[in-house]
Amino acid sequence: MSAPAQHRIIFKHIDEPGYTNDIECYLRHGGYEVLRKSVTRKPEELIDEVKKSGLRGRGGAGFPCGVKWGLVDRKSGKPIYLIVNADESEPGTFKDRYIMHQDPHQLIEGTIISCFANNVKQAYIYIRGEMPEGARILERAIAEARSRNFVGPNILGTGYSCEIYVHRGAGAYICGEETGLIESLEGKRANPRIKPPYFPAVLGLYQCPTIVNNVETLCQVKYIADVGGEAYAKIGTPGNTGTRIFCVSGHVQRPGYYEFPAGTITMGQLLNDVCGGPLPGRTFKAVIPGGSSAKVLKFGERYKGKRKVGADMVDYDWGVEDVPMDFDSLAMIGSMGGSGGVIVMDDTVNMVEALANINAFYSHESCGQCTPCREGSLWMKKISSRMVHGDARPQDGALLKSVADQIPGRTICAFGEACSWPTQSFITKFKDEFDSYSEVKKTLPADRRVLV
């Protein structure tokens, strides 16, 4: 079965020759027409459209956007804030950056529509510190949109006013966690907050109800406001509606971004048909399906169980290639769709070294607030770095796994899971490589590339 055709909604104009990121170009392509249409509707209607669409957040967790908006405390009398989470930092993920660099007005239009739907008067785009260019582009785009009365006071003469501000992070992965982001936006260290009681929908930015949505999610909202929730829900598969953007990196012939209706393409189709398969003379070894914190999948392993198709439960028996690329199927086989960052590793990769790299990242990015993640992530990094650069012991794999097992479920935020899942899955699935690494190391060429 060959792969279905790409269905570009969000990435419609990305890398399109002649398409520029200024407002004239956007307007020529029908820009801000959806906003004009939306502000004539009742805000509740727009929320209903999003609920009907079944849109799931594109930041990584896949939380239903309509439910998130439904949780917002609208009775407190406090202002409601909307924050655009543009702190795209998950290794392997590069979709939001393309949107902001090449089609920033799509994000601004989606943001203003979402603000209008939720009666938000002030929105912030929290952009990753390492993306200064994106911040400049957004600043300019907001100024352009303001000059055309799409942003600012009395938008399009409706009496509705909304400001958007760009806030640059200072280069910390943890600011992608929504409560850490809020702390950072408030000018503090990005230590995630405890939930309860600090659910952003109730006690978010400045202790006011706050919606935090990913860049791509808000662009999807713009599309939903255009075509309607029911039409949107027909794209993709039930429970996994709309399109998903896959950022494929690593050992494939054609790495890059690809947008498909969610759940309509399998991992095998994506990697072999769309991305051109493994590099010449190589074979696929492992793939991380949803950003580096997702659990790794090993080529050759089988996933069996029962799944719901319509009203029936049917048996499934999948290899990695057979897994549909949607939130639920990937969760079912013990990994996650996450942010859509697909990292492919072929048979030249040593899994101990790959894990050492991932562990170095997470130990560097742990905020340090709560004990298991703070100490565990660095301990894991010290072990895996020692294995690669110093003495590897046969028992190190088991030790790594045991350390990793002490972290998830015991931390303030999901970073605990993010930093421990790679170790847990790498060692569970490639145990022999870890156990034998001390021997394998002796055979490695001395001039091999050294890890960070």
Partner: protein, 557 residues
């Protein structure tokens, strides 16, 4: 008396024990009520909850109800309502009770979580207990015995961080021992209102430090040492002076101001080594100013008054002098004397038919635990009837009486009369009997000096600004050659009048209870550790100087 409103109670089940606790209580406090200890580092009852140490993880569940009918789901095996246990552990500090909440603190999941956190906390810890000043009162040490592995699986290099950093004049920091609980940061920011501490760097390299160009030098800095659960923050004054397990703890009251901060005096073999706050939720919570902690140094100071003469001889010398000048005597009492001493001062004044004045001592309050009235017990003088009006700082009318020749002898209870406005010339005109602890101009000019003892060398009570009577207990033996104030006063009363009065708290209190209406219902031994609030209405109209402090609002006059 007005009954406090009964708080809404919520019934919870902790390790199988049912208990009703006030709404809003968290699981750690609820568990404490059934004598279940939930170990923790970052949680402190008087600070904001941050939930970062993850030591207090517990297993929790709620009674199951049918989602459609809301009817309880009964477990057929037990015949009781089924409990839906949450599959991942929750923090006890951040979990407030709700009706029917079930908590397990000893389940395998909880044990596993605690052991994991404990191991993590120790991997980068220097494990230098033998040379650590916190040893003996270290939570890390305590909980390592309960949840520690007993050996280390950590063979990597430990993190290196700054040692012996002087955060301020009184606090020393060892960052390698810090568990990053952030109690000190929250205390400085939220209680002391001096936001000077913070973390720099990330992850396990996070390091506690002062903000740039700031010092931890506010007058509450030593509280960070008290609340530091490990040996990271230590008192520069106390460190390496004495192992805490050698020290005896005695409850006391700080005499710094009329707040009456509850304190503990730590001593060994008659020597005091430090003073720390004692929790009293109605007075000082768990805090104490730094300035009150050094007051013990007056016990050993070089200018202490002592005498080789036995007390009986001193008393008869004083009596001879006073009886000669009968009819021209004035008594200067003290707002620093205990209630009992003030009661006997009143007896002495009555025996001498002498008028009594008091010296006030005021300064700016700090709105927290130092009030404007720097006498600890002015209200005691009012309650015992020693005086009926608030004192002033200067003894102007006494000075006028001396100049007019009406006063020829003064009994001063620890008050330096020159500091209170008498000139050297006026002092030279009168015969002074001075009861006091330390040498000053008045003791030098006095005809008779009765060396007495400091608050640490005696027991008694003070009445603080709230009209709360609080007791302090003798921590160390009296200095040789100094006499307990009560004994000294009683001897002089007897020598002057021939009447005997009790000189010990046990025998004196029945007399106080009989004669002082406000204290009629109590005895020294019955006063609870956190004090007893008196009815202040008889003195409601007086213009007290105190402004608002923690747990105190001045009555609107």
């Amino acid at each position: 008396m007005i009954q406090p409103a009964k708080p809404d109670l919520v019934t919870v089940n902790i390790d199988g024990k049912e208990i009703a606790v006030p709404k809003g209580t968290n699981v750690i406090e609820a568990a404490r009520l059934v004598n279940v200890d939930v170990p923790h580092y970052c949680y402190h009852p008087k600070l904001a909850v941050v939930g970062n140490c993850r030591m207090c993880l517990i297993e929790m569940g709620m009674p199951a109800v049918d989602p459609a009918t809301k009817a309880p789901v009964i477990d057929p095996a037990t015949g009781k309502q089924k409990i839906n246990w949450i599959p991942r552990p929750q923090i006890g500090c951040g979990t407030t009770v709700s009706p029917g909440l079930h908590v397990k603190t000893t389940s395998p999941m909880v044990k596993d979580a605690r052991e994991g956190v404990m191991e993590f906390l120790l991997i980068n810890h220097p494990l230098d207990c033998p040379i650590c000043d916190q040893a003996g009162e270290c939570k890390l040490q305590e909980q390592a015995t309960g949840y520690g592995r007993g050996y280390s699986r950590f063979i990597e290099q430990k993190n290196v961080k700054p040692k012996r950093t002087q955060l301020g004049p009184r606090v020393t920091l060892d960052d390698e021992r810090c568990v990053l609980c952030s109690r000190c940061i929250r205390f400085s920011r939220d209680v002391a209102k001096e936001d000077v501490l913070g973390f720099v760097d990330r992850g396990s390299y996070s390091t506690l430090t002062c903000h740039p160009d700031k010092k931890l030098d506010h007058n509450y800095s030593l509280n960070t040492v008290d609340i530091c659960p490990v040996g990271a923050l230590t008192s520069t004054d106390f460190r390496f002076k004495m192992r805490v397990w050698f020290l005896k703890q005695t409850n006391s009251i700080c005499t710094e101001s009329s707040v009456g901060v509850n304190s503990v005096v730590w001593s060994r073999e008659g020597v005091i080594y430090r003073i720390t706050p004692r929790r009293n939720d109605e007075v000082n919570d768990t805090w104490m100013p730094d300035s009150g902690r050094v007051l013990y140094k007056q016990v050993q100071s070089a200018d202490r008054l002592t005498s080789d003469i036995v007390l009986d001889n001193i008393a008869s010398k004083a009596a001879n002098l006073l009886n000669e000048l009968s009819g021209a005597i004035a008594v200067v009492g003290s707002g620093r004397s205990s209630v009992e001493e003030q009661f006997l001062t009143r007896k002495l004044a009555a025996a001498l038919a002498a008028p009594v004045s008091l010296v006030s001592r005021t300064a700016q309050g700090d709105k927290l635990l130092i009030s404007a009235d720097r006498n600890p017990n002015v209200r005691g003088a009012l309650v015992t009837g020693l005086v009926s009006a608030l004192p002033s700082a200067q003894l102007t009318s006494l000075a006028a009486d001396i100049d007019a020749g009406k006063v020829k002898a003064i009994v001063s209870i620890g008050e330096d009369l020159t500091a209170a406005g008498l000139t050297a010339a006026q002092l030279a005109k009168v015969s002074v009997v001075y009861f006091g602890t330390h040498a000053n101009a008045t003791s030098a000019a006095a005809k008779v000096v009765v060396p007495t003892v400091t608050v640490f060398e005696k027991s008694g009570t003070f009445i603080n600004q709230q009209f709360r009577i609080q007791k302090f207990i003798q921590a160390v033996p009296a200095l040789a050659g100094a006499h307990n104030d009560l004994a000294a006063l009683a001897k002089v009363i007897t020598a002057v009048s021939g009447a005997t009065v009790p000189a010990e708290l046990g025998t004196l209190w029945p007399l106080i209870a009989a004669e002082v209406p406000a204290l009629a219902t109590m005895l020294y031994k019955n006063i609870p550790e956190t004090g007893l609030l008196l009815d202040a209405t008889p003195w409601a109209g007086l213009p007290f100087v105190e402004a608002q402090t923690l747990h105190f609002k001045p009555a609107t006059v």
